[in-house]
Symmetry: C2
Subunit: 349 residues, 2 copies
Amino acid sequence: MAEITIKEVAQKCGVGVSTVSRALNNHSDINPETKARIMKVIEETGYIPNNSARNLKRTDSKTIAVLIKGITNPFFSPAIEVIEDETRRKKYTMVLRHVGAYEDEVDVALELEKERRLRGIIFLGGGFRKSTEKLKSLNVPVVFSTIGAPLLDNESKAVFSTVSVDDMLESKRMLEHVIGLGHRKIAIITEGSEELSVGQLRLQGYIEALKAAKIKVDEDLIRFVNPNLEHYSVENGYRTTKNLIATGKEFTALFCVSDMLAIGACRALTDAGYKIPKDVSVCGFDGLGLGQYVTPRLTTMRQPMMEISRQSIGTLFDIIDEVSEHKHITLACELIQGESVWKPKGSRK
Amino acid sequence: MAEITIKEVAQKCGVGVSTVSRALNNHSDINPETKARIMKVIEETGYIPNNSARNLKRTDSKTIAVLIKGITNPFFSPAIEVIEDETRRKKYTMVLRHVGAYEDEVDVALELEKERRLRGIIFLGGGFRKSTEKLKSLNVPVVFSTIGAPLLDNESKAVFSTVSVDDMLESKRMLEHVIGLGHRKIAIITEGSEELSVGQLRLQGYIEALKAAKIKVDEDLIRFVNPNLEHYSVENGYRTTKNLIATGKEFTALFCVSDMLAIGACRALTDAGYKIPKDVSVCGFDGLGLGQYVTPRLTTMRQPMMEISRQSIGTLFDIIDEVSEHKHITLACELIQGESVWKPKGSRK
DNA sequence: TTGTACGCGTTATCAT
DNA sequence: ATGATAACGCGTACAA
């Protein structure tokens, strides 16, 4: 099969390659007739420009990249749409790249930056990284979405932006709600990675809330998901809850650090004969749309994903356009009171 | 910021560019010492090869592409993993590309083929396309996953492979199960796009099953999702079911052509005071893991996603390696009897 | 084992 | 308005 190039199109049209290039890139200085003729030939031959060559040559790309940790995280779908719309409005192009579990997101970004002449990058999700060093070598603006700023040192804060919720605080708020209803024996299912993850932060919030309420933190009620499964999956929620139940430990409420985990937890509890929330209360975190369709509706802490993404892309363009420096935005979550949390059994409250 | 290239690395090392290239690409004909020295400089300088230049130059890329319709469809996550593993085992590279709703997947493939020197392509999901013409201009093997072969003409069949389930037949089987329990007034929620979609096929199966059972097809019980929302989302299932209920039409069972729709439907029915399956039976299609965690557990037709993806990548490599021609594989679904379907109210069966 | 030189397909620059 | 030509950064024949 003959690989058709711009050269051959030019020959077929009896014009020079630069003229074809002009036609392709909507340059103004070209005769409309010539352009029409060229476009016709392009249509006929099915010629498609080689992006590698384009990217290699181009100086001004007007593209930003969005990197998502995890192959396919439904949590971010709405966020991506918002970012895409705004990108288009700005006449930029967006490239979406999923970062596998085994890949380093910054490395991927570095590669992509060279390859596509990026103007900016948004990281969606993913853990905190240690290497401010590496991030610095990215010489385009970077915005982290849903990565907490509180823990960053000042040096880091000047290198990139963040838009996030305060995981620790919001988790604490969730617990305060549960404690306020009278619960004292509250279990938690979280992620136990060594990296400082949102799971860890939410665990911190849990501990703080208990301590503030003078409730003894019981290690047995802190359960970690199976790191070999997808961390925040229903299956992991189910299994971890089953294990928790198997310990025989008593608890009247269960806090899952994600809604998916909570749905799995509900299944495990229901299977074991518990009524939710009559026997056990279950709460989640994230505020996935799905949570309000399942039975019982989930009580959860909703992250303002739309607002997060809107602020993220806004911040990125502000920095690209040099109308602002790096900033760190923290947005508030909203407690959604579903039907999965109620007063503990026998409570007179 | 100085864009660092292979040339500068070569200079810093006092060697030629080809030596650096050799070091980068693990060539054998290079002095280990030289290589070590070069790698050290690369490390220090943070040099990263430009992929555009590489792709432009390379003739032998050993990459395949997986194109997924829709930004982030959780349905395909496990499939992707299977494909990725097998690709790695074959010492190939996989590039994953999401195709937006407004993009033409074949166009994207065409572009990617030139850009990355692809050896093969797998399409995951997406509608049937009309343009066999365009597909032919892809000069690498193509496999469609979860696209039915039955409807393809012979010409098409020689141009690409398919691995799928027989949507019409399996949908019919689902209905036979429901009818077998005694239901006669059965509603369906499906997708009403003009394109010949899986939704349309499943609707066909529904109609055939009713006809075979001598049940009159009632147009009022055939409901289409809102095309402006994500077609197979819980929200769409919820809204469409609400509309159905609002018509006042009587039905004892509801068939949703996807599990997500079914979950949304359950919510709407529950909100309206119906008990599932006592008052109304609800069944889905797909066999998402999630369906077995929600309450009630979904009765659904499970697509063997793992097997589909295994066969897809296997077929692709068979064709690449020229050990086989294009083929069309149809796999059977498995009826999962959850708790959402039971005999109709008042039935004596 | 290593270096030189050419070309991959395109866009940008500079003529015309 | 159009054409010739020099890059873009890299891999690879070929020469050394």
